[in-house]
Symmetry: C2
Subunit: 432 residues, 2 copies
């Protein structure tokens, strides 16, 4: 007997038929003698409908600045009421899945965040989990009753519902798995695992059997949007093995099948036997490059540039500063999300006098490609191999950034797919 | 300053524009210096959508009779999960109305049943309120913050959400008004009050300024479906004045206007100054008549007939037993809802031997018309007046039943509208 937490995302519970399919996955585990808690998202589309209502309801608020002020006011509405409305989506799915399970003869009961309780900090609409008092729930689960938990929500210190922010259901699931000391957290989603790169670009991409938490964090933040970053951080911190698998696989297949056949297991580095040097190639097309030309090469300039950008809530990714030729001026290049480019340029123009630069240049015509692998730690020369292969294809590298387990390059967007294919082959990731 | 409970039904909060209109009613009261708690239903249509999902989710349940069994199983699904799903409709409206109020500069906070808490008995999906611990809510309201309460729901002793059954939001509102010792409970709905009879039948029907609880109970159970019967019983028991008014009236009209101009006040009998003998004429077209011919005239026969009907959950209304001519046999006539007629006949046919009757006859071709008025208590001859007027129009009375404040007659359905118009004129209810 294993204690499992299963999580189904919005597309996996989009209608009653899909909820029925999810229930068959749960029933298979129960029939195999396992004990289950299930975390569900809202039915796909419901959350957007609820948010649209909230935004419509709060319309006209700006004209009433003397009104009631609360947390989250900056979004233009009271985050506490946003939470009360939007959390209802997961509440509905949890009840419906419990009903379907009962219709299949499986004992089940729905749990909302406040019923467990799953406690959060007071930051409504972007709350973080502070603790789960899971004893009652665990007792029921060990007793053979499936606990169907509304994801994405908990109860804040003010006694009101708090949501965890978009994608928070993954985090709910991992946190619950940790609190219950579950043997594994299975994330059922609309893909069947984590691939060595985007299969739409490289048809030879392979599903990984296993990936370490660290690599998954780099893959996820690079655009392999399978698992929410916070959930991976939490899984790493609490050593929760997470299996990413498809909810659209045959729900009746043997529960005891080899995990490697079912999806990708995100786990500790030392549980991965045949570790490659590079595990995967990530690709972020939505990058934009900003270059400040002829910036004074002196202390305080970086703060002058990046401080105002941070205040404007613009995330800066790769930063490259060339060595100054004359010791007086240099060029400063960095990347932001494409969607933030115009705002970033506006901020920098408004600060031109304080920063002091010659010219400002922005371009969305770039892509970031990264090679990721914990094996890099013990293998020198990975970067050299990479640059050599790309130069052979005539691909010019505009910027480079590295971490212990990742090498990222910024290149002309036109060459992005060629670069991904080249690196995928170079590091032996193509399937035979 | 008055402490008011305002209740808005589903059609009055059907979309964000209607919610905004409801908010303007609330703001008008706040601007006039009053303190408000507001009870809301789900947006019109939402509850039906949620129930449809529940029924779809529970489909196939009948094939799994060995499965999990709970309260409410007789409906084919677990009432506890039904409650978890369906209660989300009111939760959404409460949050949205709070947001709209804030956008108008009015301090507001939503409250779900479990947050107040509003306690219920354990009968999920048809729960009754057992108590309201309204101190925290009352404190906030007296402090000037509008409490927007999700109607139709509370928390059961098992710590789970319980709904009060269809129309339960009226009961939520009256119970909250009683718990807060509110000065009045205003029910905003899609009609502007209670009329002396159905204005679609009698164009001269008038809106009543006031009606006693007792009369309202008779009117409501007779088909004037403005207020849920349980809410009127509760208002009577706890002496809560209830004002029925239209949510589509001009929301900005003077809050201190004469109540008589705003709608119909349901109140104690002695607060009604100019009491007429008959206050209103009610009309129930959906009646069916059942006659058992040649039934033995001996003790126990009535129990033999009505026991099995009660077991089959069929409500019997008017019962007439003729005096037996020969002391041995008699005829027994009673009415049921039209929708129940076939089931009632089936039950009686299956019990023919036990009951012992000559023949069985059923007809939906009848209507019930009632004259209602607390003034009848002190006025003899109302029934005689009524029968005389009807006989002058050639209307044959098939059955009669009376209470202290009501006389009901059963007639051929073809004459129902003529009978209503005749009685409305007879008792001086036509507007000039």
């Amino acid at each position: 007997m294993a204690l499992l937490v299963l999580k189904f995302g919005g597309t996996s519970v989009a209608d009653i038929d899909k909820i029925r399919n999810a229930a068959r996955h749960v029933k298979r585990e129960i029939d195999a003698g396992n004990r289950c808690a299930v975390v569900v998202s809202a039915m796909a589309g419901q959350t957007n409908q609820l948010i649209a209502w909230v935004e419509d309801a709060a319309r006209g608020r700006a004209a009433n600045v003397d009104g009631h002020r609360e947390n989250g006011e900056s979004q233009g509405y009271d985050a506490c009421e946003y939470d009360a409305v939007v959390s209802s989506g997961e509440q509905v799915t949890a009840g419906l899945l419990a009903l379907v399970l009962q219709s299949l003869g499986v004992k089940a009961r729905s749990w909302q965040g406040w019923q467990i309780p799953l406690n959060t900090d007071p930051v409504h609409s972007k709350a973080r989990i502070t603790g789960i008092q899971g004893d009652a729930l665990r007792g029921q689960v060990l007793d053979g009753e499936v606990a169907v938990v509304a994801g994405f929500q908990g109860i804040a210190p003010d006694g009101r519902i708090a949501t965890l922010g978009r994608g928070g259901s993954d985090t709910s699931a991992v946190a619950l798995a940790a609190a219950l000391s579950a043997d594994r957290c299975d994330i059922y989603t609309d893909v069947d695992g984590v691939y060595t790169t985007d299969p739409r670009i490289v048809p030879q991409a392979q599903r990984m059997n296993r990936i370490s938490y660290e690599e998954m964090l780099e893959m996820a933040s690079q655009g392999a949007k399978v698992l929410q970053t916070r959930s991976v951080e939490l899984a790493m911190q609490r050593s929760v093995p997470v299996l990413v698998r498809s909810s659209f696989d045959d729900a009746d297949q043997d529960a005891s099948a080899d995990l490697a056949e079912l999806g990708t297991l995100v786990c500790e580095e030392d549980e991965i036997v045949e570790q490659k040097v590079v595990s995967g190639i990530a690709y972020a097309p939505d990058e934009a490059k900003v270059t400040l030309i002829k910036v004074a090469d002196k202390p305080g300039v970086a703060a002058g540039v990046f401080g105002p950008l941070a205040e404007a809530n613009i995330n800066v990714d790769m930063i490259v500063q060339n060595v100054s030729e004359d010791g007086r001026y240099t060029d400063l290049t960095f990347t932001v999300q494409s969607a933030d480019l115009d705002r970033a340029l506006d901020v920098l123009r408004s600060k031109k006098d304080e920063i002091g630069y010659g010219d400002l240049d922005g371009s969305t015509n770039v892509a970031k490609v990264s090679a990721i692998g914990v094996g890099m730690r013990s293998h020198a020369g990975v970067a050299a191999q990479m640059f050599h292969a790309l130069s052979e294809k005539g691909i010019n590298i505009q910027a480079i950034s590295t971490s212990e387990i990742k090498i990222s390059i910024l290149i002309d967007a036109a060459y992005a797919e060629l670069a991904v294919r080249t690196l995928h082959t170079l590091f032996g990731l193509d399937s035979r």
